[in-house]
């Protein structure tokens, strides 16, 4: 197993663990942080490929993902604050308004 495969395996593990956390945890903030973990896993695979091929494109993509993550957090935290003001809870199970 060479270094690229090892790092890709780590990035896949991080992505899968983030996905598990997003599905199984109840706390809204923890779910947001698990989304950040998934982004980090993807970033690791992009950096691995960029560094293997020696091209700048992968690193540029990671930079753009940083910006998107910052914008996402800047929107998501006010939305969570708004939700908590409404219901006084961080439990994702309490927000069932869209349930059919």
């Amino acid at each position: 197993m060479d270094r690229t495969q090892f790092l890709l395996g780590v990035s896949l593990l991080l992505f899968s663990l983030g996905l598990v956390g997003l599905i199984v945890r109840r706390n809204l903030l923890v779910m947001l942080m698990c989304m950040e973990l998934m982004l980090n896993g993807v970033n690791l695979s992009l950096v691995t490929f960029a560094s293997r091929s020696g091209s700048v494109e992968g690193a540029v993509m990671v930079f753009l993902i940083f910006i998107v993550a910052a914008a996402e957090i800047a929107i998501a935290i006010p939305i969570v604050l708004l939700l908590v003001r409404e219901r006084r809870t961080l439990d994702a199970g309490a927000y069932t308004d869209l349930k059919g």
Binding site: M33, L44, V80, L90
Partner: protein, 167 residues
């Protein structure tokens, strides 16, 4: 040799931090585990020679995003069921599905014929990266600033919505 050992060390720390994020109860501890994961990933990027991304990882993720997250956790310390009961009803289906997904992906990477590691050269130093970044990707760079302005406007709009809702 020592580089490989450090790489394995940082990768292990990242995976252990990610597992801790699933197990810990309080959001603040989860945030600290996530900060540990991000710093370990920054170390991996540094070892791979992509120093620009390592610096951005620490500055943007740990310095901006996670500080914001920690402030939100401190602001929102409401005691509710999500503190005492960590997992939703989707625990076992979620774990099983993601286990299958991870096994498939890791198996594909394991079998796949990936060429050997060639080394980054000096293209990822701060100066060469900045030159090629701002020469080839200046439009994307400007568009990110537009995106950030839109994000700030949207955050203000959400706060206005809240004020009108309560008033």
């Amino acid at each position: 040799m020592i580089e490989t050992a450090l790489l394995v060390l940082f990768a292990t720390a990242a995976v252990v931090g990610a597992v801790l994020m699933l197990l810990l109860r309080h959001p603040m501890r989860v945030a600290l585990a996530l900060i540990g994961v991000m710093i370990s990933l920054g170390g991996i990027y540094g070892l791979l020679g992509v120093h620009v991304i390592a610096v951005f990882q620490i500055m943007i993720y740990v310095g901006a995003v996670m500080v914001f997250m920690v402030y939100a956790i401190m602001l929102l310390d409401v005691r509710d069921p999500s503190f005492t009961e960590r997992y939703s009803a989707w625990l076992w289906p979620g774990v099983a599905a993601c286990g299958v997904l991870a096994a498939l992906l890791v198996g594909a990477v394991w079998r796949g014929a990936i060429p050997t590691f060639t080394g980054p050269g000096d293209r990822f130093g701060v100066q060469p990266f900045s030159l090629s970044f701002l020469a080839d990707y200046w439009l994307h760079f400007e568009l990110t600033s537009v995106l950030l302005v839109v994000a700030v406007l949207a955050a203000v709009a959400v706060i206005k919505l809240r004020g009108r809702h309560l008033g």
